[in-house]
Each structure stands twice: as structure tokens, then as C-alpha cells.
Symmetry: none
Subunit: 425 residues, 2 copies
């Protein structure tokens, strides 16, 4: 297959805190993922402290070797924020106040009713020839300019500002700078299976191919499979993705919750709730509010989320959710019948179509011989009746709570996928 020489990039993360034993640069992973999708390989990454001279030198060296240079961080309002200055001196360009950026900044402060401290004005200075990259999630704009052999970009350090800027501002500006090459990606979002079980399941399919390249990523209760096909034409790349992806999708079954890379289990559940015109209420013990927090994370969630009850004591489970006292005494609060009664209680108390419950031992202390730390019961009560699943997780408190939250959302997703849930339409 004919193949143009790929462009090479270097990434410099700026910040003295990234040179301490406590912090690691993860921003470069976000940038790398997007660069790879454009066919750009990352040849080196660097972390430099808030030291203008050293950074200037690092920029100069990187530009001698690489086509594309991405700088992350050091764009804030303080003396420590040296990136703009360093890029300007490395390239022998001027920094000039952009009146447009100044008024954008002033407007941002006006909107939150705060006077802008004078040092914030540093953020309105652009490098000669650079274009500002909009930052709707923070105050510092990014900057971008193309060079003879590629481009340079300055991006903000906070991940919530960085990620959308890379996607919406950087990628569209890099594309015209790069040799035409088609890279197509197919993403599977998966829950309800562990990473090594997933690999055992799908490796027999994907290991037969080097194009597309297959990558498996995991976080607790949530997995991604990325297929990345490279070709001369879109049609060819898409054919490769079908050839490998379709058998994988079949193997995944209902553990595959979306093929949209921007989806999360939360947005998928939110969409299903809206489509089915369903409503939900939660009764949480082990997840302590995290489940309600996830269900209300999406704007407009008041359309389907009615109420959440975090009942940490037996007394509250009885009083608020109506769980019978002898049920609690007989089976204990961490049990299948109590999980069912909690889900029923949430449903009855709120008038929601679905009640969702969690109870379990998050640890590190607690648990019984039969239900050791890490055991959770997840309940759902709905028009189809009640269901409780028991799961036992390894790992720490955070992991148990996260997996229980994810599991409860998945329980709701599966109920909403049943043909009977469509009757509401």
C-alpha cells in the first residue's frame, strides 16, 4: 500500500508540578490520541518546569527535529506561566495584546460578576502570526500557527479545557497542514465484562490483522476497543473496519453499549430514558449518592430523574423507603431482599417508573463470610417486575463504589432495551 512519510510531532508539557514525585503528565495522552488519528506519530515528549530559559531552548531543539510541536500548560495569568514568552523568544517573534482576546476575557469576567485582576491580561497576548483557539471552559485561549514544515500549538493545561480545544480547534487546523491520508476509526464502548475476559473473547479476531490496529483501554467497569484503519481511500479503510469490527460487535452482544466515541454509559442511559419517556428514582447505600450524581450529570436530567435517597442507616431505609424492619433484621441491609425492597421503595416513594438500588460492602472494613468486602447487590424495580444482581468486586473502596454505580446504570440500560420498555412510546 503506498504510504507518504508520516509527520512527526513532539509534545512539551510545561509546569514545575509535573516534575515532582506526585504528578504525572496525562494531557499528552489526549493529544497523542488525536495526533495518531491524523496519522501523526509522536516522536518524543518532554516535561519542562516553569523556567523560561530552559523552555525556550527545549522549543528550539524540538523545532529542529520535528514537524509539529504541541505545548501544553503555562498559559495562565501568573508570573509562572511562561509558555507564551518562551515560544515567542524561541522563534524570535513578538507578543502583542489582542484587543479581541482582551474583550473576550473581560466579557468572561463580567458574566461571572467578577472584576478581572490585572495579571489576567497576560492571557490576551498572542504570538505574532498566531491564531487564537477558543476556550469556552477557561480563561486562557490557545494559540496556533503553521510553519514551513508543520505547525506549533499552545494549549491550556486543565484537561477539561484541553480536550475540547484539541478536538474542536486544533484538529481542524492541523488537517490542512498534513499529507492527505485516510485514517478511519471504529470505537466500541463496552460494560459488564472485565478487561482480560474481553481480550480472551475478541483477541482471536483482531490479532489476525495489523491494519486496522486494535487497542483495548479500560477503566473500572468501562472498556473501549479502538480499531484504527489506514488506507488511501475512505472506502477501503471503512471496508477494513467492517471486516474486523463486525465479528467483534457480534461477540460483544449487549455488553456493547455504544459505537459513538463521545458516548458514555450515562449519556446512553439518559437517551434511552428520554426515548422511552421513562423516569427513575434511586435508593443508594453503598454508592452513597454517586448513582444519583451520575444520573443528574446530563443537562435536562430533571425530565427523567425524580428523586434520590441515600439511606445509610437501617432506620432511614425503613422510614424513607419503607423497607420492612424484619426484612432488615432477618437478612441484614446487604442482601438480595433488601436491595429489592429498596428499589421498590424508591419507585413507590417518588412515583417513578423505575426504582434502582445499591447496597453492599465498600470496605475496607465490614463484610461477612458469605458477603465479603466488595460484595454488592444491585436492584431494579419497574413495570416488568423486580430484579437483583449480586456482584463481587476486588480492589479498593473507590473501585467497588464505581463498579456498583456502573453496574446499576447497566441494569437500567438493559431494562430500557427490553421490547416491553418501548410500550411507553
Amino acid at each position: 500500500m503506498p504510504q507518504t512519510t508520516p509527520k512527526r510531532a513532539e509534545i512539551i508539557a510545561i509546569g514545575s508540578e509535573l516534575l515532582t514525585p506526585e504528578r504525572v503528565d496525562t494531557n499528552s495522552l489526549i493529544v497523542t490520541r488525536h495526533l495518531n488519528l491524523l496519522g501523526v506519530e509522536v516522536a518524543a515528549k518532554h516535561v519542562i518546569g516553569d523556567d523560561r530559559a530552559r523552555l525556550t531552548e527545549a522549543i528550539r531543539t524540538a523545532l529542529e527535529r520535528s514537524d509539529i510541536l504541541i505545548l501544553i500548560g503555562g498559559l495562565g495569568p501568573t508570573e509562572d506561566d511562561v509558555t507564551r514568552d518562551a515560544v515567542a523568544s524561541a522563534l524570535g517573534r513578538q507578543l502583542a495584546l489582542s484587543l479581541e482576546q482582551e474583550s473576550i476575557l473581560l466579557e468572561k469576567f463580567r458574566r461571572i460578576n467578577r472584576t478581572m485582576a490585572k495579571n489576567n491580561l497576560r492571557q490576551a497576548y498572542l504570538i505574532e502570526g498566531a491564531e487564537a483557539l477558543a476556550n469556552p471552559h477557561g480563561s486562557a485561549p490557545g494559540q496556533f500557527f503553521s510553519t514551513d514544515r508543520g505547525a506549533v500549538a499552545l494549549l491550556p493545561g486543565p484537561p477539561r479545557e484541553l480536550e475540547p480545544m484539541v478536538e474542536h480547534e486544533l484538529v481542524p487546523r492541523l488537517k490542512p497542514v498534513l499529507p492527505p491520508q485516510v485514517i478511519r476509526v471504529r470505537t466500541f464502548r463496552i460494560t459488564g465484562i472485565g478487561e482480560s475476559d474481553l481480550d480472551t473473547l475478541i483477541a482471536p479476531v483482531y490479532t489476525k490483522y495489523t491494519n486496522p490496529v486494535t487497542t483495548v483501554l479500560s477503566s473500572p467497569g468501562d472498556l473501549w476497543v479502538h480499531l484504527r484503519a489506514q488506507s488511501d481511500t475512505e472506502a477501503e479503510a471503512d471496508a477494513l473496519l467492517r471486516e474486523v469490527g463486525n465479528p467483534i460487535a457480534e461477540l460483544l452482544g449487549d455488553r456493547l453499549y455504544s459505537e459513538q466515541p463521545d458516548d458514555t454509559l450515562d449519556t446512553v442511559v439518559a437517551r434511552l430514558l428520554r426515548q422511552r419517556r421513562a423516569t427513575v428514582a434511586t435508593a443508594e447505600s453503598v454508592t452513597g449518592g454517586l448513582l444519583a450524581g451520575r444520573l443528574t450529570d446530563t443537562s435536562g436530567s430533571s425530565d427523567y430523574f425524580l428523586a434520590g435517597y441515600v439511606t445509610y442507616t437501617d432506620e432511614q431505609k425503613h422510614q424513607i423507603l419503607g423497607v420492612a424492619k424484619d426484612l432488615l433484621a432477618h437478612h441484614s441491609a446487604v442482601s438480595e431482599p433488601v436491595a429489592a425492597a429498596m428499589a421498590q421503595g424508591a419507585r413507590a416513594r417518588s412515583g417513578a417508573i423505575y426504582g434502582l438500588s445499591t447496597t453492599g460492602y465498600a470496605g475496607p472494613s465490614g463484610g461477612t463470610e458469605f458477603d465479603p468486602v466488595g460484595t454488592v447487590y444491585l436492584g431494579i424495580s419497574g413495570p416488568d417486575g423486580d430484579r437483583v444482581v449480586r456482584a463481587r468486586h476486588g480492589g479498593d473502596r473507590y473501585r467497588t463504589r464505581t463498579l456498583a454505580t456502573q453496574g446499576a446504570l447497566n441494569l437500567l440500560r438493559k431494562s430500557l432495551l427490553k421490547p416491553s420498555a418501548r410500550k411507553g412510546l
Copy 2:
């Protein structure tokens, strides 16, 4: 004050896998921790692929700038393992087979009953003038040699080989190369002020000093200030931290919630609740369960967290929390009186000593002219009476919810700090 110039180190991690979107170099954190304890600052970190030419150049550049160079990885037996070759060529030194290392290798293979593949012999080559560093957990030895201004070390990539080698082999060899020196750190954890306001407040103090070095880190509603002092003796370093740190602490006032680097607002609030033998219940609207989630994040939280109510509808606010219907009709659910009534309701409903409430507009839709998107009311009801604070946040839904959660926790912290809260003891 007498001050020897601190030695500066650079760390290069070698391995193409560290340039993918999936992997991050954490080995350098181990090395950094040990270097800092020896008074050595890490001035820069790099990740280079398995590319001999690029690595050679990176080594040459690093040695021009820094006293100590630590290379991690690329010491294995394959063609990809280029570190030995690159260091030798960067310094114009020879690589020579060490008969001692060859016999150690052969012995290692003999002990596990395996024939040594020929390529393993690469691992027995030492750079001219280098000393081998024993590797009881793997096959490749490390290497160390001192230079005019410092030292160079080659260390293996697998963490279980790296960590003991740093501690037992590298540190004892670095000590004689270094000037005797002490580094001490002081950390402030801060909430209730924004990053640029914080900087305006404390910059007049810290900018007067280059030692200690001051770093400000921020995440929504949570800030860190690190002071790092370098000196010949512990007493001198501590005196520097007092000289700069004490005026900063005074300026911060009760926005300073801890000086323990491992503390979070959550652990500080948890500790205060325990100390005061207090209990808490939450009534959430805008934070949708996140506040309860944070309060139950710490193990043993059932000792002080009694219940959480996520009341998303007016009906639920009335039914569960007893908020009067005409209060809701008159003032709307996002208002000072409703925030107060929610906090009172949570307290009354659960029997907790404190009731904590949140209501507001997280957006992106909703809001009124007087209370636009981003406005939150945070309420507390306790033995001292009721208090409601109003705050208006810029940014997106995530930021508003996070800042509201953080603000509510801070409200509770401040109440628990009052002398009257100690009566419980």
C-alpha cells in the same frame, strides 16, 4: 544565606510504548522522589522512542544542560534496546563485554534451567568507565559512571527491577557526587478563593523569594500552594519555610483548610465530624447526589453520615423535606428561603446534627435574570441556627456542580470550626 548551587538532573525514559495514547511513564516518579531527597532538582523529563539516533541526540543535549542524567529502560536483549549504544555514542565511549557480567547472566539462566539465547549477551556489555549496578530481579544490570559535573546512570524499565536498584545501588553512588544539602517542603491546601485572586493575595509575599520556590496548583474549588526550601541544614530550610509560609498562612485565614499534603477537603471534614461527634444529612438539588457521594467517600462514613435526599422536583422537596408549598411557589426552588428550608428538612427528617443543602442552576439551560445559570444557594442548618450563602460560578455544568459541592463542604467545615461546635466533646 550560604547556598550551594543545587545539582540538576534530567530523566529520559526510553520506549516507543511510552509514546502511545495508552501508556504513561511513572518510573520517573520513583527516581524523582529519591533525587529530591538528595537535594537534586529534576529540571526536565523526556520520553524518547526506541530510536538510537534521536536518543543519542537527546542524551547529548541533556548532558550539556544538566549535572545528572538518569536513563530508564531500553536495557533488554533485543534490537529495540538502544540505551547502551546511544549513551556510548553520545559520550564517544566504547562498549565492552564484561566477563563478570557475562558469567552473572549465564548463572541467572542456569538457575532457571534455561539456555541463554545469544542476544542476551548484549546485556553484559558495559560502557567504558561504567560500574555495573546489580539487578537481583531481572537480567539486565544497570550502569553508573560519574562525570566532571555529576553522573550518568542507566536503569532498567520494569518497576520491580528499577525501584530496588535506585534505592540500593544508585543512591549510595550518587551521594558522594553531591554537595551535602537538605530540601524541605510546606504545603497549603486552600478552598473558597479562585486561582488568580489567590495569586493576587499571596504573590507580594512569595515573589520576594527564590528560595523557597513557590508553586500554585489548582482544580475547581481547590488550590495547593507548595513551598520548597533548599539549604545546608534542616533547621535553615525550616526557618525559610516559616519566614515565607507563616505570612502566607495568615493571609489565607480560614481559607487554608490543611497543611497536610495528603489531606483533601473531604478528609478534613470527615475528621472534624468525628472530632465533634457530629452527624450530617444532605438535601441536594443542583449537585444531584455528588455531595452525599463525597461525604461517603471515606471509609467508616456511616459513623457521621446519616442520610441524603436528592430532591429534584418541587413535589419531592415538599414531600420528603417538608419544604412549604407556598415557599416554593413564592420564591422558586432556587432561592435563599428554599435552601434554608431544605437544610432544615434534611436535619429534621434524619435527626442529624447538621443539615446541608444545595439548590441552583447548573445549566446550560435554565436560570432567571436575577439568578442566571451558575447561581447556587448553599444552606446549612445546625445547632447554631441556619445560614445560606449565594454564589455565582462561571463555566460549565460540571464546574458549577463541583464548585457547589466543594462550597457546601466548606460551609460545613466552617461551622464545625466554630467554638460552639466543640461543645459536643
